[in-house]
């Protein structure tokens, strides 16, 4: 891998609430190189969005607290940067798109204006020039009749068009990194594919690094170079798509793959769900957080958190005491 553009090291983001301390991100590290796509996969509440929001500086402090860690962007630790410095990076060098494109756009401003706004926030550009650029961007993300559409409000757009507008906004200034937080979850399946194709095309044109946060393993398999599997605020497994899908070394990853519906499987094969529920992030079980749901769990799993270690290769990491046992099983992805 080339020199990382953005890396998170041992990040701990804890939310101090009335009910207790929510360890949303608890010792997570990942990095992404220029033009790369990193998938972050996990169930809702696994902390996958929070690490991205932390990169943007959009985690509200308090209730959140950074207990440890660094977020290095081009060699600079963003957690120690002041507000002005972070603002200069937000939307220009690192930008983000969100799950629900209807609520993510401001209902009372015209779409074109909202796109022009990010341009004018970072560049010395007149209103008219910024508007014209917004129209060009809308055309580039595949919105027909962009000149007229730019003058419309978000509620006049369909779900897919709103997400296209969000993408136009996020990529307006050619950022180095795009954090895409469940970009297709709120959309119809056919529209999902269109949006992903659009992201891939724009990534190829601009060399943007994309962090694709999703619960959809299929989406990651098709589009990411590497994948990070998160469970209960911790990294369960990290590796290339082939490593993780064909040689999973964490039982949670294996469980996720088994519960995936596949078109190329016989119909008699039942999907195998992971039994139980993900833990509350306030009361994470001692030892490995996955142990109550894990078919491989032994005493050590209930006592000791397994370290995130290289398994069968330097870039394939997993946090499991029993990775060796998993190595003996065939991955459902390989069948």
């Amino acid at each position: 891998m080339t020199e990382p553009l953005l890396s998170i090291e041992d990040l701990r983001v804890h939310f101090h609430t009335d009910a207790g301390v929510v360890k949303a991100v608890d010792g997570v590290s990942w990095s992404i190189g220029p033009g790369e796509t990193l998938g972050i996969v996990g169930e809702s509440g696994s902390g996958k969005s929070v690490s991205a929001l932390a990169v943007m500086g959009l985690v509200e402090v308090p209730p959140a607290r950074y207990e440890s860690g660094r977020i290095l962007f081009k060699g600079r630790d963003l957690l120690t940067a002041d507000d002005k410095e972070r603002r200069a990076i937000r939307g220009k060098e690192i930008s983000m798109i969100f799950q629900d494109p209807l609520t993510a756009l401001n209902p009372v401003f015209r779409v074109g204006h909202q796109i022009a706004e990010v341009i004018q926030a970072h560049e010395k550009m007149g209103r008219i020039a910024a508007r014209a650029k917004a129209v060009d961007l809308l055309g580039e993300v595949g919105i027909p009749n962009p000149r007229q559409r730019a003058r419309e409000y978000p509620h006049q757009f369909s779900g897919g068009m709103r997400q296209r507008a969000m993408i136009a906004m996020a990529l307006a200034l050619d950022p180095l990194v795009l954090l895409a937080d469940e970009p297709t979850t709120a959309l119809d399946v056919t529209v999902q594919a269109q949006i992903m194709d659009l992201l891939i095309r724009l990534q190829a044109d601009r060399g943007t690094a994309i962090v694709l946060i999703t619960h959809d393993l299929g989406l990651v398999a098709g589009h990411a170079d590497r994948v990070l599997v998160m469970y209960a605020g911790k990294v369960a497994e990290l590796g290339t798509i082939d490593d993780v899908y064909y040689r999973p070394r964490h039982p949670y990853t294996l469980g996720l793959l088994k519960s995936l519906a596949r078109m190329d499987q016989r119909r008699s094969d039942r999907l195998q769900p992971i039994v139980g529920q993900p833990p509350s992030l306030i009361r994470v079980p001692p030892g490995c957080p996955f142990n109550p749901r894990c078919p491989f769990a032994t005493d050590i799993c209930r006592q000791e958190m397994p370290p995130l270690e290289p398994k069968d290769g330097p870039d394939h990491l997993a946090a499991c005491h029993h990775s060796d046992q998993l190595a003996l099983q065939q991955s459902p992805a390989a069948s």
Binding site: L58, A88, R90, G91, S95, L105, H155, M169
Partner: protein, 309 residues
């Protein structure tokens, strides 16, 4: 939208018609002798004068007939003649309207300037000392009757400090300050609470997070993205309040001897000058309904998602 406005104007006619019936019944069914009262307490009227007056004001006719002829005049915009002043009610109200409007505009100014900014600051700096101060002072303003607030302000600023005139309008715009604050006190408190509430809610919206994600400063995010959304219900409230204030402020105008429609109404009720009472209240209803219509139309301009049909 033109269709919508026409329909609303027709509805307004119905409201006015209903209001006029209720008012007419209330005024003319209550016991008392308007002719005697309006000519001054204890003054003896000779029977022929009295008969002439009754004829002049239709009081010799049965009530339904009185109402019909009143309605006939009203439809031409004529509110009749005052028993006391023997002058057209239209003229009298027109003289008072300027003063009432001046006071209403000043009070709305206080509401917008003080209420909205206090609400924004309280929402942005939630649970801060300032927020607590706003909560306490608005509770005070809501809880204490307007009459007491007016008298209290007079006592402090006019009698003790002698900074501002006690009452009347002779001192020009300086005379406007205390009555405007008094009149605005309750609504300013309610506006700032409404503003704080809607703003706090909007601040949690996804599009606020998007605005921060674009790299906008907190000031722009708050004063543009959050304010533009949260101010819509507040402006609606202020608009409706304005409609009410234009109809005359009875307590404030009385406390400050402000020569407006409210004061005229109080005087007319005391002297049973029914045409003025009818005229002032009908005017109040009309203004209120009209301003409401303007507010509803304005809403569609402020919130692009609203369409009038």
């Amino acid at each position: 939208m033109g269709k919508y406005v026409v329909r609303r104007l027709l509805q307004m006619m119905l409201v006015l018609f209903g209001a006029s019936i209720i008012l007419f019944i209330c005024l003319f069914v209550v016991p008392g002798d308007p002719i005697a009262t309006s000519q001054g307490e204890g003054r003896q009227l000779d029977p022929s004068t009295r008969a002439a007056l009754e004829r002049r004001y239709d009081l010799d006719k049965p009530l339904p007939q009185q109402y019909v002829s009143y309605l006939g005049r009203l439809s031409q915009g004529d509110l009749g003649e005052s028993y006391v002043y023997r002058r057209s009610v239209n003229t009298i109200l027109k003289e008072k309207l300027g003063n009432t409007a001046k006071l209403a505009v000043a009070a709305i100014g206080v509401m917008l300037a003080l209420g909205i900014s206090a609400g924004i600051l309280a929402a942005v700096f939630r649970y801060s000392f300032f927020d607590v101060l706003v909560t306490l002072s608005t509770t005070f303003a809501v809880g204490v009757p307007v009459l007491i607030i007016g008298l209290g302000l007079q006592n402090v600023f006019a009698i003790n400090l002698r900074w501002l005139p006690l009452q009347g309008q002779s001192a020009g715009n300086r005379a406007l300050i205390l009555p405007a604050i008094t009149l605005a006190s309750l609504d300013t408190a309610l506006v700032s609470r409404l503003m704080r509430g809607t703003m706090s809610e909007v601040m949690r919206a996804d599009y606020i997070r998007t605005a921060y994600a674009k790299g906008l400063s907190k000031r722009v995010v708050m004063l543009k993205h959050a304010l533009r959304n949260s101010i819509i219900p507040v402006l609606t409230y202020v608009g409706i309040a304005f409609g009410g204030l234009l109809g005359g402020a009875i307590i404030t105008e009385t406390v400050f001897n402000w020569n407006g429609i409210g004061l005229a109404l109080v005087g007319a009720i005391q002297s049973q000058d029914n045409p003025i009472v009818l005229g002032a209240v009908t005017y109040g209803v009309l203004v209120f309904v009209l301003v409401n219509l303007v507010v509803d139309v304005a809403y569609a301009f402020l919130d692009p998602r609203i369409r009038l049909e």
